[in-house]
């Protein structure tokens, strides 16, 4: 399993993502956003940060990067794609995931450890993460309020596309239905606002984030 981690101008979490992928499955490499060819990687992480300065809307410009066309092709072929924070915003803007991420309800940037609960997603991506299982993961974002129209929410809940919810009372941004992460209908594209790549080493206390990278590694194999 070889992971590729995209790097846009303004990305800032790509090194931690690279580290997490390496810990979970052995090999990972950075892919500059101007690359049209992903170089044969088996899965891709679209990392956090502030791609293109978050101008216009977070993720709106990054989605037009050459590398994103290759990511869309990989996703269409069933390859695993994980978008974290800004990466989640990019995947929503690109239409690879349902919904959008809006300015936090508080209008403040939040940076805190949150508990995520496995939402019973049917995604093969998350096999081994049980419904209601608690993962302690840091969240840090200004535009993380998940939104989708009611009928879309009912549809994605019905399809088992909600991957994670914030534990009751811990929703840091006003996301509808406490949604912290969703998948596409096929389940091979996952986006989430909190940062599992920052929770992989005992140095930073929780190592729960590694569970997500390990699950993705199992899926890709």
């Amino acid at each position: 399993m070889i992971w590729g981690v995209l790097q846009f101008p303004g990305s800032c979490d790509e090194r931690d993502a690279l580290h997490a992928c390496t810990l979970a499955s052995g090999e990972a490499r950075l892919i500059w956003h101007e690359e049209r060819d992903l170089g044969g990687v088996d899965g891709v992480v679209v990392p956090g940060g502030f791609s293109y300065g978050d101008y216009l809307r977070a993720g709106a410009i990054a989605r037009f990067s050459p590398a994103m066309e290759a990511v869309a092709a990989l996703a269409a072929a069933g390859g695993p794609v994980l978008g974290i924070c800004n990466g989640f915003q990019v995947l929503c803007e690109a239409g690879l995931l349902p919904g959008a991420l809006l300015l936090n309800e508080s209008m403040r940037f939040v940076c805190r450890q949150v508990d995520l609960l496995g939402a019973g997603s049917s995604s093969p991506f998350l096999v081994g993460i049980e419904p209601g299982e608690r993962l302690s993961i840091p969240a840090k974002h200004g535009e993380g309020r998940y939104y989708a129209p009611e009928e879309t929410l009912d549809e994605i809940e019905g399809n088992g596309q909600v991957a994670f919810r914030y534990s009751p009372g811990q929703n840091p941004n006003g996301s509808v239905r406490d949604i912290a992460g969703v998948t596409n209908e096929a389940g091979n594209v996952l986006g989430l606002m909190p940062h599992p790549e920052h929770a992989v080493d005992p140095l930073t206390d929780s190592t729960d984030g590694l569970r997500i990278f390990e699950a993705m590694g199992r899926f890709a194999r």
Partner: protein, 74 residues
């Protein structure tokens, strides 16, 4: 080149915390009787093919899921 202005605003019914914050600040500044404040964006541009501005709005300038847009040719 045709000059145009694109107004982009949050869709009706979607929580707009910027608008709310502005609205809440008004009474303290002595502005009474102002409500339903919404904050959006304005993009000014010059286009060789103004007939394609709708497509530009749909694909980039606005996110039609969360925003409405209005194109004014000047």
């Amino acid at each position: 080149m045709a000059k145009a202005r694109v107004l982009i605003r949050p869709k009706e019914g979607i929580l707009d915390p910027q608008g709310k914050a502005v609205e809440r600040a008004l009474p303290a500044l002595g502005f009474e009787g102002i409500g339903h404040v919404h904050v959006g964006r304005m993009v000014e541009l010059e286009a060789e093919s103004p007939e394609r501005l709708g497509e530009l709005c749909e694909k980039l300038l606005a996110n039609p899921l969360i925003e409405d847009y209005e194109i004014q040719t000047l």
